[in-house]
């Protein structure tokens, strides 16, 4: 019998304080995003009606009564901005979620089953060539404008970006000896994908999803600004900016404040994504 006395190196304990100290970007991005999500969820119950018109109070600058000022119909911009965060976050998160699921499925299939790879990837290249704003305008002229159609219009061109990332990762994993080892051990396709390939694609997928989320929020705002997004009566940041455009000279707050929030949200998501990428990339994570 051989000796069984090899000692394993001790494991480091997980500590929240150390984790925060080592990943300031993730912490900052995550905290900021968490605050914005909290505002989007509970905020509307504490503020008034975002559609309430009060012509007497038109274009008031920010003050103690109207924290963010009012617009040309006398609507409270603070209330509207809080409601607008809902639209941005719903669009960003649902586009990220839907395109991740679709992109993951297609990416796994392309990377794993080489027979369909060429065909699917050429379609993806084609889809990627469509500008999302034009696609959205086309879709909205064909149907009724609404949040759903905006999400669909943004998801379609975002899916190929995810597919490419997942496919590249799957091709890398397929070449790993542990995949051959599993095949030699009698592991069959479904289990191989589920147990050995899929979990290793999740880290890069999450990172890519954060970038998609940020870009979806920007596209949504652009669409609303152009009048091709959510209907004008819905208070989204894009709509608020679009409506404030004419009065920018006399009421700059109606553009600067929602614009600032949009920038802050995108920044939070991007910081989170960058931090996660640095953390999850094994080449960087192994630094001393």
């Amino acid at each position: 019998m051989v000796a069984i006395t090899e000692d394993l190196p001790p494991q480091r304990r997980f500590s929240l304080a150390t984790a925060i100290r080592r990943n300031p970007t993730i912490t900052f991005g995550a905290v900021l995003l968490f605050l914005l999500i909290a505002v989007a969820i509970v905020g509307p119950s504490f503020v008034g009606d975002p559609l309430k018109i009060a012509p007497v109070n038109r274009l008031r600058p920010p003050s103690e009564r109207w924290w963010f000022g009012t617009d040309q119909f006398g609507r409270d911009l603070f209330t509207r901005t809080v409601y607008g965060s809902r639209v941005s976050l719903i669009v960003g998160l649902s586009v990220a979620a839907i395109s991740s699921v679709l992109g993951l499925a297609l990416g796994l299939a392309c990377g794993y089953f080489r027979a369909i790879d060429g065909f699917v990837m050429r379609i993806m290249d084609g889809v990627m060539a469509i500008p999302s704003i034009l696609l959205a305008i086309a879709l909205i002229t064909l149907t009724r404008p609404g949040l759903g159609i905006v999400i669909v219009a943004i998801v379609i061109p975002e899916v190929p970006r995810i597919v490419r990332v997942v496919r590249a990762v799957v091709l890398g994993i397929r070449a790993q000896p542990y995949i051959e080892s599993a095949i030699a051990g009698g592991t069959r396709h479904i289990k191989l994908l589920w147990r050995h390939v899929l979990p290793n694609t999740l880290a890069p997928l999450i990172v890519q999803a954060t970038y998609v989320c940020a870009s979806a929020m920007l596209i949504e705002a652009s669409l609303s600004f152009l009048g091709a997004g959510v209907p004008p009566e819905v208070p989204s940041w894009g709509n608020i900016i679009a409506q404030g455009r004419t009065f920018f000279q006399i009421a700059p707050w109606s553009i600067l404040i929602p614009g600032g929030f949009l920038a802050l949200t995108v920044l939070a998501v991007n910081l989170l994504g960058d931090g996660l990428r640095d953390r999850l990339d094994p080449r960087l994570a192994r630094r001393l």
Binding site: V2, A3, T5, E6, D7, P9, R12, L288
Partner: protein, 326 residues
């Protein structure tokens, strides 16, 4: 041999440490040895024993972000290297002390021809004209027996085979007539027939140029074949030092003995290989007593509690062990 006036390199009580998330790693933990002019010294040990870090320490190539020479002295021709300025060190490296590495591809620049790279080293250190440097490069490729040297000067590293690249590295290392050549596992990445060619070449060149060689390897066969004196390292410490014949005839330290009994032999049939049980101790914790005690078949209580003495049995043969009697 050690300690006499012929020593070109003297390492005394060298401690090199690295800061990691797990704590301070004592990669080299009090190593001393001498290198005589024109001598071939082998440093042998398993991965993580500190043999490569010793070499990097001599050349002051320890990355300052993570590691440092904590204490000790390295004297090259009487000059202290541990405190030498970086500029002076740069003039020394590749000129009077050279180094070749295990994987030549990573130490050659892929976008420059091999001729340019050798010539650059020559111009930098010897200050000769470009033309003379190129002549020297051609001469060096000839010396390392690369056929058709003039044509090869204009080739890029990727156009050469692994054995050829190692020859180019040797040509570059020797291009300024160094007094000391440090070779870190120079043949480990090569096939056995190519390894034999490179070892032959290194020994031949040593005869011709009189360069002293420090050969770092894990392979006892390579050590037996090429070196005159051997330092055996374990867990950052020198556990034995001896002339090569004495080491193989009469290994004193239990670790050296264990290694010799553990290698399969090409020349004899062994019924069963001896195992060294367990594994190398963690270098993040201070080691009390002998570093090998936990795996040693003859360890006593004393070995586990008190640091063993370096016992000199004469003839330049020393071992770091309580159980060896002079």
């Amino acid at each position: 041999m050690s300690g006499n006036s012929g020593g070109i390199l003297e390492v005394r009580d060298l401690h090199t440490q690295f800061n990691t998330l797990d704590g301070v790693v004592r990669a080299v933990d009090g190593v001393s040895f001498d290198l005589a002019r024109g001598e071939t010294l082998g440093i042998v040990g398993e991965s993580g024993c500190g043999k490569s870090v010793t070499a990097l320490s001599i050349l002051r190539l320890i990355p300052p972000e993570t590691g440092r020479i904590a204490s000790g002295s390295i004297k090259f021709e009487g000059e202290e290297l541990t405190t030498l300025g970086e500029e002076a060190m740069k003039r020394l490296r590749g000129h009077r002390i050279s180094m070749i590495f295990q994987e030549p591809m990573t130490s050659l620049n892929p976008v420059l021809t091999v001729g340019t790279q050798i010539a650059e080293n020559v111009t930098r250190h010897l200050g000769v004209s470009k033309k003379a440097a190129r002549e020297r490069a051609c001469e060096m490729l000839d010396l390392v027996r690369i056929a058709d040297a003039r044509r090869r000067l204009d080739e890029y590293p990727h156009q050469l085979s692994g054995g050829m690249r190692q020859r180019v590295m040797i040509a570059m290392a020797l291009s300024c007539d160094p007094q000391v050549l440090i070779a870190d596992e120079p043949t480990t990445a090569l096939d056995v027939t190519i390894q034999a060619q490179i070892l032959d070449l290194m020994l031949d060149l040593k005869e011709k140029t009189g360069t002293a060689i420090v050969l770092i390897t894990h392979d006892l066969g390579v050590v037996a074949e090429t070196t005159q004196r051997v330092v055996v390292m374990y867990a950052g410490r020198k556990v034995e030092e001896a002339p090569v014949e004495a080491l193989f005839d009469n290994p004193l330290h239990p670790y050296t003995r264990g290694l010799m009994a553990a290698i399969p032999r090409l020349d004899v049939d062994a019924p069963r290989l001896q195992e060294i049980p367990g594994m190398v101790p963690l270098l993040t914790r201070p080691i009390v007593g002998c570093a090998f005690a936990a795996r040693c078949p003859i360890a006593t209580e004393r070995c586990r509690t008190a640091a063993p003495p370096m016992v000199d049995v004469g003839g330049g043969h020393t071992a770091l062990c309580w159980e060896v009697t002079p």
